[in-house]
């Protein structure tokens, strides 16, 4: 029993160590569902699917990358990687996590592809080099382009994890010596869910993968095929330092008074206003404050194509133009014509009544005077 189990409150000698009972397994599934924003009922469905032997097969491809996305995933705990790969999905090919190597692991890949053709989830980690016929990344004598086209075209769903697989990431930074591109550019015609980030937040991956595993559906996507639940808004929109931006309190220099007080990092080149990601909303790897802006550094724009690894660190970001009035604003009165009409009628009635009253008073006064 490891430290992770202690943290999760799994008692010593629990079913984990001697095989899992149903109750605990459903608990794990429900926890996984809740952690990634799926409804609680999804946990039960997940458990039922897994028990019926319907765990989705996952084939994980590594290309030009640092394995940071896998490393981040290894450090999640709701669910932990063990629950994920042993209980919830069937991880059939993963170069980093597999004990096997060489011919053995190649065999596993081909078997999994045959057995689950059209159903497995193909996860792509890393950019694909295209220059010189893609010779800069080869596995088992095949180029990355060949492998991806082969594995991706037979998959039920393709998920590109990390910026490298989504749009090129670091390998595509200028001068891009290997002609690195993202998976969507290789798999033309096949929808690829992209989860950019350097590394991608593991929860965005879990949410997407577990939804597919449970319901067979993919989350709603934006025009760059990023799940809207995670990439629908910019970091700036939910930034914990946003109030300082609005009030014009900017850090001007690392270590200055504003920096110590946690002011806005926009003037230091923060790319939050042009970067779509949920970093400001969900803790990375469950550690509060564990992201650039959280530790007092400008956002680097790692998720956004053309921003991360392309724009200089301290260059100011482009701001959205929303809510800035035009040069000659429309000054229509907030009161409508109908309201003005009603006010006019009421006013007229009051004046009329006043006239009548004064007339009556005058008549009354005349009578008094005459009596």
């Amino acid at each position: 029993m490891g430290w992770r189990d202690e943290r999760l409150g799994v008692p010593a000698g629990s079913p984990r160590d001697e095989g899992v009972d149903r109750r605990d397994f459903v608990k794990v599934c429900t926890m996984a569902a809740a952690a990634v924003g799926l409804p609680a009922s999804a946990g039960l469905k997940m458990a039922e699917a897994a028990e019926a032997g319907l765990k989705p097969s996952v084939i994980w491809l590594h290309f030009q990358e640092c394995t940071g996305c896998t490393e981040s995933l290894l450090r999640t705990s709701h669910p932990g990687l063990a629950e994920l790969i042993l209980d919830l999905v069937s991880l059939d090919y993963h170069e980093t996590l597999f004990a096997a190597a060489g011919y053995q692991i190649e065999e596993a890949l081909h078997q999994a592809m045959e057995a689950n053709a059209g159903k497995y989830i193909c996860v792509v980690e890393g950019a694909i080099p295209t220059k010189d016929d893609g010779i800069y990344c080869k596995i088992a004598g095949r180029t990355a382009i060949d492998i991806l086209q082969d594995v991706g075209s037979k998959a039920g769903a393709v998920i590109a994890i990390g910026s490298c697989a989504s749009w090129g990431g670091i390998p595509s930074a200028d001068p891009n010596p290997t002609g690195a591109v993202g998976a969507p550019e290789i798999l033309e015609g096949i929808p690829v869910v992209t989860l950019p980030g350097c590394p991608a937040n593991p929860y965005n991956f879990l949410g997407t993968a577990l939804q597919y595993a449970t319901f067979g559906t993919l989350p709603a996507l934006d025009d760059k095929n990023r799940p809207l639940f995670a990439y629908g808004r910019t970091i700036h929109e939910h930034c914990p330092r946003r109030a300082h931006f609005d009030a014009g309190r900017f850090v001007r220099q690392y270590g200055d008074e504003g920096h110590n007080l946690g002011w806005c990092l926009f003037a230091m080149g923060c790319k939050g206003p042009e970067t779509h990601a949920n970093c400001s909303v969900i803790d990375f790897g469950e550690i509060p404050g564990c992201w650039p802006i959280g530790i007092g550094h400008p956002c680097f724009g790692c998720t956004e194509k053309g921003v991360g690894f392309h724009k200089p660190m301290h260059q100011e970001a482009a701001l959205p133009e929303n809510a800035v009035p035009p040069i000659f604003p429309d000054h229509r009165s907030s009161a409508g014509a109908a309201a003005a009409g009603v006010a006019g009628l009421v006013g007229g009635a009051v004046i009329g009544a006043g006239l009548m009253a004064s007339k009556k008073l005058a008549e009354g006064g005349g009578e008094e005077g005459s009596s």
Binding site: G248, F250, E321, P325, P326, I327, F328
Partner: protein, 292 residues
């Protein structure tokens, strides 16, 4: 004393001629370009640097204790907004624009204000005195930039316009908007420094500024010159800055406001005529009464 028709007409003609002469002399005197006071300070706004974050709008409100915030943002200068960022966007052209008092060298408002609530004070800053103002809003009519705003929705309304944060200058601080700007798109300095800075920017990057070929600084000569200067990449008129001659904007306000009272001739003539009419009417009434 009796006034016959002949005397009355003579007086009226003299008053009219006096007014005309005084108007002519005023116009003549001010066709000489006004010069900035030697201690003049101001601001330089470079629209090509502005990124539209509107930090200056909030900072202005904070610096001047004005209500309102960016979650319910103003869409124009108003009774609680002395500074605003606007956006011009048309046919692929785009530019932000910062609007606030221009602190004219020859201001229209100061000349239009009949009781001196508006004053051009030390450093050439145009200020408004609430203890003098009677709320006539002539300043609004006289300003070619449409800057002074009136608090229509309060019981004791005030005129609201940028006063260059002179309360902060007194403490040795720069204006709120200048302090807040993350891009130094608006900077504070003496009028001479700012003009030199603007000319240097044009010399360094002539391709960046309007009009192409011979970039101009708005406020160098326009309307007799303004202590708030503008550089932009698009036509100033598209940014809401009017096409003005080199003549000071105070000239017309002076011609109207000061001409009328010059030598007190026109008021004396007007009330003289009214008095004569009253006197005649009374005499006619007395005659009628004696006839009965």
């Amino acid at each position: 004393m009796t006034m016959d028709r002949r005397t009355l007409l003579k007086g009226a003609a003299a008053a009219g001629a006096g007014a005309a002469v005084s108007a002519a002399t005023t116009a003549e005197a001010s066709s000489v370009r006004p010069t900035a006071p030697p201690d003049a300070v101001g601001m330089l706004y470079d629209a090509t640097l502005c990124i539209g974050c509107r930090a200056c709008v909030t900072a202005c409100k904070t610096a001047n204790n004005m209500p309102g915030n960016l979650y319910d943002p103003p869409n124009d200068l108003n009774g609680e907004t002395k500074n605003i960022i606007k956006l011009y966007e048309e046919d692929g052209e785009k530019s932000y624009m910062k609007q606030q008092c221009m602190h004219c060298i020859d201001p229209g408002c100061v000349n239009a204000c009949m009781i001196g609530a508006f004053k051009k004070r030390e450093f050439g800053i145009v200020t408004w005195d609430k203890d003098r103002c009677i709320g006539c809003r002539y300043c609004q009519v006289a300003c070619p930039y449409n800057i002074p705003k009136f608090q229509w929705d309060t019981a004791v309304p005030e005129i609201v316009k940028c006063e260059l944060c002179n309360h902060m200058l007194a403490r040795g601080e720069e204006p709120g908007c200048v302090q807040a700007c993350p891009k130094e798109a608006v900077i504070f300095g003496t009028y001479e420094e700012l003009l030199a800075d603007a000319r240097q920017r044009i010399a360094d990057h002539p391709e960046r500024y309007y009009p192409a070929g011979a970039p101009e600084i708005f406020g160098d000569t326009e309307g007799g010159g303004t202590q708030v200067l503008y550089l932009a990449g698009v036509d100033f008129e598209k940014l809401g800055l009017p096409e003005l001659g080199d003549e000071g904007v105070g000239v017309h306000a002076r011609a109207v406001q000061h001409g009328i009272y010059r030598g007190f001739i026109a008021p004396v003539a007007l009330y003289g005529i009214l008095g004569a009419v009253m006197w005649r009417n009374r005499r006619a009434a007395a005659k009628e009464g004696s006839d009965e």
